[in-house]
């Protein structure tokens, strides 16, 4: 096979398996959103459509009914909370009963969903959009939605659809084999990355009278509720007809207090434990990537890692050394002194040089994360306004350590560019940190990341702060970045030609 062909295959694979680095948005909003939201107060959540499949090598795929059920409940609860946080009144309506009693009503809901599928073609057609271009749509599901809104006495209907998969262990093994084969085929030019699980969610707020799609977002990612969190984070806030400002703010209403995020944390811990207790390194590697800034120190997660390390560290094969090195680093993420002796033993006694080296690094990480993890999960046991991932981001932004602030800013940049409350926290952090004595590069970089996050939000509310820093900062790098980001923000917020 010619080298050019191989490179084409590799590039195609990279395109298929990778993701775009463009700063585009998955959010779409109605071009006349504000005037619609003036008429929206009560929102009903249509029954979420959830399908999750266990993919098997044999093709005997199964629906994972228990996971579908828990996911359905999970995203319903998230949506309910997020609607309330955004200032809407959530209409509680027993759809199951109504559908069981009236199949015509069930058909109406199906028609609304089908009509949204058609509207989606318009909403998702064409080129990718920047955040500033998201409000340029005039799609409608038609008046079929009237029957739903009239029956539920709601002003708008929230549609949710979630589709996910998880591969069986046999399927994962086959993927690993195909990755190896592909790497050989492309002489190392290509790497196929197979996700062991994945999901996609789509949420849409539909005007219950006109059928106009007011807002929609679609996210893909891991098989859990995090994509729902990300999708719902861009939900527009309700607008009070009296003052055309967010209703909750206008009324002086506090942000609703949520249940402690510790419930979500326990689910995460359980998932991590399952991942680290399995046989496949690919699964563990994925878990490690997500664990890095989780703040988790729970032995339930790390004990299986320690056990595996202790079992094989003495004289591992070359291939196994790489895996164990990652496990040693994972142990460092725990910040839990319980694992210090193990890491010291491995660093001292293993015959594998690389494993010894990473175990020493893990000991350093252990100390860092001993300080960082409690900060990252501060308040997790308390009721508050944040869900778990938001709470972590909030804590990171409000931390004293610039390393953590930088991570928090990156989180906002990657996931919360339209989350007004976290953007406000980002602004607060920026104003606090840019005024401090900046005596190292990490501090400067953290401030620059905070500005980058605000600039990419496309929200001109943050423009004055950037201009002020550009004019007043004594740090040349920060002043220069502030000018650049102010220009970027103005460009993003400019109306589309």
């Amino acid at each position: 096979m010619k080298r050019r062909t191989l490179l084409t295959i590799a590039a195609t694979a990279a395109w298929l398996t990778g993701c775009s680095s463009l700063q585009t948005t998955t959010t779409r909003e109605h071009e006349d959103l504000e005037s619609h939201l003036l008429k929206v107060e009560r929102v009903v959540i249509a029954p979420p459509e959830v399908s999750i499949a266990l993919i098997k090598v044999s093709g005997d795929n199964e629906r994972i009914a228990s996971l579908e059920h828990s996911t359905r409940q999970g995203i319903l609860n998230l949506a309910r909370r997020d609607l309330r946080v955004a200032g809407y009144e959530v209409v509680e309506f027993d759809f199951a009963k109504a559908i069981a009693e009236d199949e015509d009503f069930a058909f109406t809901i199906t028609q609304v969903r089908d009509a949204f599928d058609m509207a989606r073609q318009e909403l998702r057609a064409g080129r990718e959009l920047s955040a500033a271009q998201k409000r340029a749509f005039n799609a409608s599901v038609g008046s079929a939605v009237n029957a739903v809104s009239a029956r539920t006495d709601a002003d708008a209907v929230l549609l949710l659809r979630y589709a996910g998969f998880r591969k069986s262990e046999g399927m994962v093994t086959r993927d690993v084999a195909s990755s190896v084969a592909f790497a050989i085929l492309t002489m190392g030019q290509g790497l196929l990355v197979h996700n062991t699980s994945g999901a996609q969610i789509e949420a849409a707020l539909i005007d219950g009278v006109t059928g106009d799609v007011l807002w929609t977002d679609s996210r893909a990612g891991s098989l859990d509720a995090s994509i729902a969190t990300a999708a719902m984070s861009t939900l527009p806030r309700d607008i009070d007809p009296q003052g055309a400002v967010p209703a909750a703010v206008a009324a002086g209403a506090p942000v609703p207090v949520l249940e402690p995020a510790s419930g979500e944390l326990q689910t995460e811990i359980s998932n991590y434990r399952e991942a680290f207790s399995g046989e496949l390194f690919e699964v563990k590697f994925n878990a490690m990537q997500n664990l890095t800034w989780s703040g988790i120190s729970d032995p339930a997660v790390f004990d299986p890692v320690e056990a595996e390390l202790l079992r094989d560290y003495a004289s591992p094969s070359p291939g196994r050394t790489g895996e164990l090195s990652h496990l040693a680093k994972a142990l460092g993420l725990s910040g839990n002194d319980k694992y210090r002796a193990t890491l010291e033993t491995v660093a001292r006694d293993t015959k594998a040089y690389r494993l010894a080296k990473y175990s020493r690094e893990a000991l350093t990480m252990l100390d860092q994360h001993a300080a960082w993890n409690p900060v990252i999960l501060a308040g997790v046991d308390q009721p508050g306004p944040w869900r778990l991932d938001e709470l972590r981001t909030y804590n990171l932004l409000m931390a004293e350590d610039p390393e953590l602030i930088r991570v928090g800013a990156k989180n906002v940049y990657a996931r919360y560019l339209h989350h007004r409350r976290l953007l406000e926290v980002t602004l607060q952090s920026l104003q606090h940190n840019q005024a401090r004595d900046l005596d190292n590069d990490v501090q400067v970089d953290a401030v620059n990341w905070l500005m980058k996050a605000l600039a990419n939000s496309g929200d001109m509310h943050y423009h004055p702060a950037l201009l002020q820093i550009a004019a007043e900062s004594q740090d040349r790098s920060i002043a220069s970045h502030a000018r650049r980001y102010a220009e970027l923000l103005a460009g993003l917020a400019a109306p589309r030609q």
Binding site: A53, K56, V57, N61, E62, T108, I109, S149, R161, T210
Partner: protein, 417 residues
């Protein structure tokens, strides 16, 4: 080419079967027909998947619950199965609210006939021909055999579909919701025997398939048993040959029943037009109308639906362009969209003329008042629109979209409500 089906039921079927289907201990081959493994596990699991699919269809409100329609279809099934062996599983027919021309059989004995299919067929005998074919799929356990053969092919298709928020499971549909050519032919010939034994006019069996073969492909689901035209004509040929060979003396002797079938066809024709309009497929709605306008219960309805189609083209020129492309087997073309966008005022004017024609035939056709009001409003003629929209709301029970029309009335320019 995207599916023109507003409710991808066949895709849903495929997705559910693909996800919910089960394993067989060893793949069956075409030679296995009639000698399936004794293990009932696969059978029970695939039947459970079929039951789950039925519940999904029910929960989505896709089953037509019209007593007259169901009684008519049920009577055809009863006639066909009257002499059946007690060992055969009972057949339960359902009509789906779907304008596409398709039918399907599931291994639990459920047979689903799309409303679009029934609206296309010309008489009871042709309906019986299709049902007889589907009954034989159930009785010969084709689903189980086809699933066992196809199961290794579905995994990749499934992951791709799921990642695409996937119910557009065309690949899996082709293998799971469909049957092999051998199975189709066997079901045809066994169906013909059943059909003839029930006393239906034997020539109508092939006529039903000839009718399908003459339909445009966009009228059918992908994977529909009627969607391959060369295959359809081949089928018509061997069915006619079978009639000539085995039933020559019976030609012209059996039941056709066109007149009793007409009301059923009329009702489902109208439903098909409505479903196509809701799916923003106005040209296909017009095509359906043209094939059956004389059957409509009210002559004014033809003009009304023409108005609805014209208004839909004007309201949604991009979707109308997509539909044109679909019909022409092409990619969505800017040329279509530009042309249709330029015709928006003309389409509204056509709609206004059609609605007025409908109201001239039947002044009490309230939906025509609605359409006329909306079209006039779209042309900026709010003062003319107001009385028609008000008239539409002036009925004993408020229509489903009363809120929409009332808000529009409140916002009409020119005069106060």
């Amino acid at each position: 080419m995207p599916s023109p089906c507003p409710m991808p039921i066949a895709a849903l079927v495929a997705a559910l079967l693909a996800i919910g289907a089960c394993s067989a201990p060893a793949p069956a081959t075409p030679d296995d027909r009639g000698s399936l493994p004794a293990d009932d596990g696969p059978r029970l699991r695939i039947e459970a998947a079929a039951d789950a699919l039925h519940q999904t269809l029910r929960r989505r409100g896709l089953l037509l619950r019209d007593p007259a329609v169901n009684a008519e279809v049920g009577s055809v099934v009863s006639r066909l199965t009257a002499a059946a062996s007690a060992d055969n599983p009972p057949i339960r027919p359902y009509v789906l609210k779907n304008p596409m021309v398709n039918a399907m059989a599931l291994p639990n004995g459920n047979i689903y006939l799309n409303s679009g299919l029934i609206a296309t067929l010309e008489n009871e005998a042709q309906l019986a021909a299709i049902i007889a074919h589907e009954i034989n799929h159930v009785w010969s356990e084709d689903s189980l055999q086809e699933h066992a053969r196809a199961k290794d092919t579905i995994t990749a298709a499934n992951i791709a579909d799921i990642l695409l928020l996937g119910l557009a499971n065309v690949g899996a549909q082709a293998t799971l919701a469909g049957y092999s050519r051998e199975q189709e032919e066997a079901a045809d010939l066994a169906g013909l025997r059943l059909f003839a034994a029930a006393g239906y006019e034997v020539s109508e069996f092939a006529n039903a398939y000839a009718l399908m073969a003459e339909l445009p492909e966009y009228a059918m689901d992908k994977g529909s048993i009627f969607s391959s035209h060369p295959e359809q004509w081949r089928r018509v040929a061997y069915l006619r040959a079978a009639v000539d060979r085995d039933y020559a003396g019976a030609v012209g002797q059996g039941t056709v029943n066109s007149s009793a079938y007409a009301p059923l066809r009329s009702q489902l024709l109208e439903l098909s037009i409505q479903l196509r309009l809701q799916a923003r497929l106005p040209a296909m709605a017009l095509d359906t109308l043209e094939r059956g306008e004389p059957l409509l219960s009210n002559p004014a309805l033809g003009a009304y639906y023409r108005g609805e189609a014209s208004r839909a083209m004007a309201d949604h020129p991009r979707e109308a362009a997509r539909e044109r492309s679909l019909i022409a087997h092409g990619r969505v073309s800017d040329r279509y969209e530009a042309a249709l966008s330029a015709q928006v005022p003309a389409h509204y004017d056509e709609a206004i003329a059609s609605y007025r024609q409908a109201l001239a035939l039947d002044p009490d056709l309230l939906v025509a008042h609605r359409g006329l009001g909306l079209a006039l409003h779209a042309r900026g003629r709010d003062a003319e629109a107001r009385p028609h929209l008000s008239r539409y709301l002036d009925q004993p029970a408020p229509p489903d979209d009363a809120r929409y029309i009332q808000r529009l009335l409140n916002n009409l320019s020119g005069t106060t409500p």
